[in-house]
Amino acid sequence: MIGTSLCKWAISYFAAAIVWLLLAEVLMVAGFGFPNDDIGGPDTLVIVHMVCIGWLSMVVCGALFQFVPVLVARPLYAERWTLPALALLTLGLTILLAGFLALGGHINGPRWLLPVGAGLLIAGFVLVVANLGMTLWLARPLPGPARFAAVGLACICVTAAFGGMFSLVLSGAAVAARWPELLVSGVPIHAIAGLGGWLTFTAMGVSYRLLAMFMLAPDSDARLGRLAWLAGAAALAVGVVGGVLALWRATGLNLVLLVAGAAALLSLIAYGHDVLGLYRTRKRRALELNTRMSILSLASLAAVAILGAALLATGSFQPHVGALVFLVAFGWLTGLVLANLYKIVPFLTWLEAYGPVMGRVPTPRVQDLVAERRATKWFVLFFAGSWAATLMLLVDAALGFRVALAVVTLATLGLGEELIRARRLADVAEPLRLPTGAAVPHLLISRN
């Protein structure tokens, strides 16, 4: 197959995701949730799920709907499932958050809000996994990056299953009375599968292809990414399967987490080695802003590995786990996603606006849809704010964390505006902006 079509709703996923991110950031600036509240308390759960489902999962789903077909050179299995999935995820998350707010005493609401919200979220993720899973299944044998995505899809199933069970426990459902330890012991598995498997492993896989494409780096060697995939998949299998067995046998998770952590570290080292190799062998020496900013997110991932190992070695992992998770969610994942959205949104917008008139009239370049110099300051503020916020959490400075988050929020608003300007073709100079036959795309939906 040559070429794939635009996913009509990918831009809608991105827009919804950015709204959730901004909401979460504003709440954190206002002092809602951790570190002012308990790390496992209902208020923190509101923030965590806004960031992990509303922001990161939504944006990853939208990106995978557009990018998995590119990876495997096949069309998406069912484009028509993408909008119902978006609706289910949005509604499910809203109800789940209402359930957490009720649990925290902020609103009056029935206990069933949590399992109903979780049920709708599971239904949404089932549609996402079935759609992407069938696309991958029909494209076997899979190229390397797609194999990372396949593991990521398996992990979101585990994450969602645990989330569903937690919602039953928290709602006091009779059926959950048989799992008294689940909430304490199951959370690490839920977090490893979600943040580690679904979000990080998927992002790692996709970044192999994106970095190679953007930098014109050779990536045809079948060995590229193999060790990172094997070690990462082993880490996730040990963490998830071993974790479930340990839960079942009530033997404790320490050994499982140690083995999984060692394999994860090996995977990250192999990934770091591969990425450095791509940078070293790239043909395109002049890097664009998205690739330069991806380097900062990769530096955050390296910092996660070093900080995590140091906290474990010094026996201070537990009191600082919040700082580590924040660095994973913002410095690494959010940074990487924002850097890549800064390329993906203008690219999809270009295809919509200028693809149909190509060959008939001169067209601008994708680079003409953005103003890198203006956006650079927002990225610098974002990463500086994220790293400062992590530091504030490490030294237990709650007010300092909120100030740093205010900087992150300002940067997110700035980058959001940059993406809207790209969508509006606002930075494209005349006379190339709207040649005959071209039209400004809709802000929230793609014409495909």
Partner: protein, 106 residues
């Protein structure tokens, strides 16, 4: 130079209006156009793209057909998209390589 050679040159020149949106340069200088020939007013163009599944690939193919059609003397256009051989960065013209910041060592 025969009339056909002249027409092929004009077609190659016309194809320069088609750009790879990501790399930001025209597809002729990027080395995407593998072959152009003309037979009884029918232009046969063999081309490639950076990635088989790229959503820009079909637009590039249409763009090539559109631009070649505008050349006087071309009655119809037949575009073949191939990935054999796959496109490689060394196919880029020296001038574009320089503007993309290609390192001499690579």
């Amino acid at each position: 130079m025969t009339a056909n050679d002249d027409l092929v040159t004009q077609i190659r020149q016309a194809l320069k209006v088609v750009i790879d949106p990501e790399l930001g340069h025209n597809i002729v200088d990027l080395g995407f156009v593998y072959d152009v020939s003309v037979d009884d007013g029918v232009a046969h163009i063999t081309m490639t793209a950076t990635t088989r599944g790229c959503p820009a690939a079909s637009f590039l193919k249409e763009g090539v057909a559109n631009s070649a059609c505008l050349v006087p003397g071309v009655e119809s256009v037949d575009v073949t998209m191939t990935f054999d051989p796959p496109w490689q960065p060394w196919m880029i013209s020296p001038g574009v390589k320089a503007s993309l910041g290609f390192a001499e060592v690579n």
